[in-house]
Symmetry: C2
Subunit: 395 residues, 2 copies
C-alpha cells in the first residue's frame, strides 16, 4: 500500500484530573498580560474561576476577561479584538465549551490584524490569513468539539442569510491544550449527550473520510474505543465519575486531532447549514443526524460494488468495536454495519437527542438546508435526494 498524507502538528497536551493547576506555571513563559475568554456562569459557580483569579494574583499576572454566552459571531470577534488590540496581550486563554474555545482561538488570531474576521472566513472573505497570532491555550469544559486540538474556529451568523464558517490555519492549533476532566463534571446531561454525540460523529466521520490516513485512523479508533462504553454513563448514572468523564474528554480530544487532519462528512456538512439557518446547538444537530446519515452512507456504499468495500469494512470495524468484538480480520461486514446503525440509533434514543422539529425546523425547510449543505470528505457520493432523506427522517 502506498501511503500519502500530511499531518499538521497537534498542541502540547496536558491531560488529567487537576491538571488545570499546570496552567499557572505555563502562563509566565508567555508574559504578564493574559486575556481570558470564558463562558457564562458555570465556571464561576464551580469555584474554579476564583481559583484561577487567585493564582493569577499570586503570579502577578494582569488579566482581562471576555465572557461568551453563545456561538461567536463576526461582530463579537471584531469587537473583542478592537477592545484588546492595544493592551499588549501576551497570551489568550479560552476556558469553556466549543463556542468559547473557538472564540478564544479566533481572537488570538485576529488581534494582529487590522480588519474584520469576515475578510478571512472560508467561503466568505477574499483574504488568506498568514497564521500570525497571539499564543493561545485552550481548556475545554465540555467533551464535544475537540476545538482544543483543531486548527479552525467556527464563526456563525444565524438567519436566512446565516452561515457557519471557519477561520482556519495550521498555526491556529492551540499552543497548549489542558484537558482536566474535573472541569466537565458539572456539565448537565443534555449538554454532555449532545457533546458526546458530536465527538463520536467527528471520530466516525474522520475515520471513514476520504482523507483518512493510518495515523488519523489510529487516533479516531482509540477515541471511539474510549467513548463507546462511557457515552451513556457520562450522561446518566456516572456523570460524577472522573474515569468516565476522562474517557469522554479523551474521545473528544482525539476527535479534534482526527478531524483536523482527515476532515469530516455529510453530518457536519448538514450541521454547518443547520447552524447557519437555525438556533440549534451544534452537538444536537450532529447527534440527531448521525445514525440516519451512517445508514444512508452504508446503503450507498453497498450499491457501488468494489469501490464501496473499503468504506464498508471501516464501518464494520466500528460496528464490531461497539459490539465488543474488536478485531481486524474476518469481520462480517454486513452484520457489523447493521450493528453500528442499531447502536447509533439506540444512543440517539437513550440520550434523548432532540429531533430537528424541536428546534423549529419543518419539512418546508429541507430544501433550503440541503441547498447550503456540503458533502465534505464523505466516504461516498450522495445525491440531493439522499441528503434530503437524511434531513426529512429527522424532522
Amino acid at each position: 500500500m502506498i501511503l500519502n498524507f500530511k499531518f499538521a502538528s497537534i498542541p502540547h497536551i496536558i491531560f488529567g484530573a487537576k491538571k488545570l493547576n499546570e496552567l499557572y506555571d505555563i502562563i509566565p513563559k508567555f508574559g504578564k498580560n493574559v486575556l481570558y475568554v470564558i463562558g457564562g456562569k458555570s465556571l464561576k459557580e464551580s469555584g474554579k474561576w476564583n481559583e484561577i483569579v487567585n493564582a493569577m494574583e499570586k503570579k502577578s499576572i494582569n488579566i482581562s476577561i471576555i465572557s461568551i454566552c453563545r456561538e461567536p459571531t463576526p461582530t463579537l470577534i471584531d469587537e473583542a479584538v478592537a477592545k484588546y488590540k492595544s493592551k499588549n496581550i501576551d497570551l489568550v486563554v479560552g476556558i469553556g465549551g466549543g463556542s468559547v474555545t473557538d472564540a478564544g482561538k479566533a481572537i488570538s488570531a485576529m488581534i494582529p490584524k487590522e480588519d474584520s474576521i469576515m475578510n478571512y472566513l472560508e467561503g466568505m472573505g477574499n483574504k488568506i490569513h498568514d497564521g500570525k497570532k497571539i499564543p493561545y491555550i485552550a481548556i475545554p469544559t465540555t467533551s464535544g468539539t475537540g476545538s482544543e486540538a483543531t486548527k479552525n474556529a467556527v464563526i456563525s451568523e444565524v438567519g436566512s442569510e446565516g452561515f457557519k464558517k471557519s477561520l482556519r490555519h495550521d498555526n491556529f492549533i492551540p499552543n497548549y491544550a489542558i484537558i482536566d476532566p474535573e472541569l466537565v463534571l458539572s456539565s448537565p446531561s443534555s449538554v454532555s449527550a449532545a457533546c458526546g454525540m458530536d465527538s463520536f460523529t467527528q471520530l466516525l466521520e474522520a475515520y471513514v473520510s476520504t482523507r483518512a490516513s493510518p495515523i488519523t485512523d489510529a487516533l479516531a479508533f482509540t477515541g471511539m474505543r474510549y467513548v463507546k462504553d462511557a457515552i451513556i454513563p457520562a450522561c446518566s448514572t456516572h456523570a460524577l465519575d472522573i474515569g468516565v468523564r476522562s474517557a469522554m474528554a479523551y474521545g473528544s480530544l482525539m476527535s479534534g486531532i482526527a478531524l483536523a487532519n482527515a476532515g469530516l462528512g455529510i453530518v457536519h456538512g448538514l450541521a454547518s447549514a443547520l447552524g447557519g439557518l437555525f438556533e440549534i446547538p451544534h452537538g444536537v444537530a450532529c447527534g440527531t443526524l448521525l445514525a440516519e446519515s451512517t445508514k444512508i452512507n452504508i446503503t450507498q456504499l453497498q450499491k457501488i460494488g468494489d469501490a464501496g468495500k473499503k468504506g464498508l469494512l471501516k464501518y464494520a470495524m466500528v460496528g464490531a468495536l461497539l459490539a465488543g468484538k474488536e478485531g481486524y480480520e474476518n469481520v462480517d461486514v454486513s452484520y457489523y454495519c447493521s450493528i453500528l446503525i442499531e447502536t447509533l440509533e439506540k444512543w440517539t434514543n437513550d440520550l434523548n437527542i432532540d429531533r430537528l422539529g424541536k428546534h423549529g425546523i419543518t419539512i418546508k425547510e429541507v430544501d433550503k438546508i440541503v441547498e447550503k449543505a456540503g458533502l465534505k470528505n464523505n466516504p461516498v457520493q450522495l445525491r440531493r435526494e439522499e441528503i434530503m432523506e437524511i434531513v426529512r427522517t429527522r424532522i
Copy 2:
C-alpha cells in the same frame, strides 16, 4: 480508568513518495540562508542532492553544507556551530540517517548558544537548554531512529570513558518532517535490517513502557501493524517496492512519536551503554538485544502475579498482531507471548542481525556494559543478573 498523560506536540508531517519536492516551497517561509546537514555519498550518488542544489539555485536560496559520516560527537557539533554561528542561518535542514538528523537537530539547537553542547547533555552537563533554536526540518533517508519526530538528539563519544547522551527539549521536535520513502530505496539490506529492528524495538518498548498512554499505544500499534509485514521484504525481495518502504518509513515515524512521549525500555538502556563503549551501529545493538530482552521481560512479568498482567496482555496483543490474529479480547496471553518471542527471534535470524561478538564485544565486558545501562521505562524491574543474562546471551 483514570487517564493522565502529557503529549509534546509532533512535527508538521509531510509523508509520501516524491514529497521531497515540497521542501522547496517550505524553505522560503523561513528565510534565505539554509544550512544543510547531509550524510556521506549516498544522497549524492542517488542524484537527489543535485536536484536539491538546483532547486535552491532557482529559488535564490544561499546554502551551506556540513557532511556527517558517523554518529555525532560533542566536538563535531561545537565545531559546526562555531563555523556557522555568524552566518545568519535562517533554517537547518538535515537529510540522512539517524546520525545526520540528530546532528542537524543539535546544530539547530546550539547555534543560539555561546558554549559547548557538553554543558547541556543529559547526565553530563549542568545547564538546562531553554529550547531556543534555529528552525529545523528533518528528512530521513533510513527508516530507523524516528529522529524526525523526536525531541532529542543523541550525541556520543566512543571509548572506555565514552557515552551516548541526549540533548533534549520539547522545542527540539523538528518544525517539519518530510518523509519521502523514495529516499530510502537505495538503503542497503544490512542497514535496512538494523534500522527496521531499531524502529520495531522503539515501537514495542514505547508500547509496553510504564509511561505509555492511550495515544502513544494507538500510535505504536499502528506502526507495528505496518512494520510486521514489511520488515523482511524491505530487506530482501522488495527493497525497491515503494509500498513496502512506505510501510517501514511509517513505522519509523510512529516509533519516533511514540518514544518521544512514552519513553523506552531495557533494550535502549543497554544500547546507550554499548554505543558509548563500542563502535556498534545503534540499530544492530537494538536488533540483537530485542528478542532476548523481550523474553526476559515476559519471564519477569510472569513472576510478579497481578502486577504483571497489564504488561503481559500488551505483549500478547503484539504477539497476536504479528500472528495475524489481531484482536482485543480473549487473547491467550501465554501463547501469544511465546509467539512474540519466536517471531522476534526469527526476524533476528532472517535479517542476519550481528551478535555483539562481531563488534569486538566479549564476555569480559558484560559487567562494564551493565554498569552503564539504565532500565528507562521498562515494564518490569530487572535485577543486574537478568540484565547480564540478556547481554551474555547475545555475545
